[in-house]
Point group: D2
Chain length 90, copies 4
């Protein structure tokens, strides 16, 4: 997972931002915040999770598929990714 | 947001579980974990966020629409929810 | 489903547009069109399906929940809708 | 788009099934069918569209990325796909 190493700082800062959004959400629930505001916060945190997914997927494809010289490995890695994407949304 | 108060304990425990998933994700990235495993963890955390969204939405509908006696308020609250759902997914 | 009757023309024109998109997709596949173009067409047709879903949901909520005087019916209809939304996306 | 040629029969039969679902939906709206039933039909047609997307994506990756010998082409094709997936869901 060298690409993650390469992009590690960027991904870690992104995942920490998501952690911050979840912490803010917990506080909003604790403070009995307005319900629509809470729904908007949840939707935003879920959207940030999707962006993170796309970021990790991009790095994964770049290293294990695009840059991979062995076609057998490319086949295997691509199958894993498609399987993941199939169940990722509806 | 009395329904959130009523279900507060349940929702808070759910949001803390999501926070735990995001923390585990940060550790996996720090530890250069296997990339497919990371993608699976992100997908799971995103799914947990969706379940939380549905939980808060259920409580919101129950209190501000179903139990609401004033039809004008029901109209307003429903419009807000539909607007939210429209942009929530694709 | 009187709201659908009321909005019937609008909904029917929308569903026919989706049918047109699916027919164009079939032609593109028949004509061995460029693959990225096909993927974009599929994504667009899926998006149109989501808009239709939101349109029918809006009418359904308006009639069977918002305008419904019997709270027991509002409870039942809302439960059905939340159940549907839960499995609608991830 | 040779992979689509290869899988053409399979994809065409799938897209025709979606067309059938959309036609059934139009009839249901025409016949003032029960609203929940209509919502379930729309969700099913949208799900079929997602399966079709995954099918075309699988073939596209297999041919233009996995089997592609030129790394520059693999880079370009993968970038297009990631861009598409980014906006495909939320």
């Amino acid at each position: 997972m060298a690409h993650v190493n390469r992009d590690k700082k960027k991904l870690l800062s992104r995942v920490r931002r998501v952690a911050g959004q979840v912490a803010a959400l917990e506080q909003a629930l604790q403070a009995d915040a307005d319900c629509s505001a809470v729904l908007i916060q949840i939707a935003a945190a879920k959207g940030a999770m999707h962006s993170l997914m796309m970021e990790v997927l991009t790095g994964h494809l770049a290293e294990h598929v695009v840059a991979e010289r062995d076609e057998a490995v490319r086949i295997r890695e691509t199958a894993t990714i498609v399987e993941l994407l199939r169940g990722y949304t509806k």
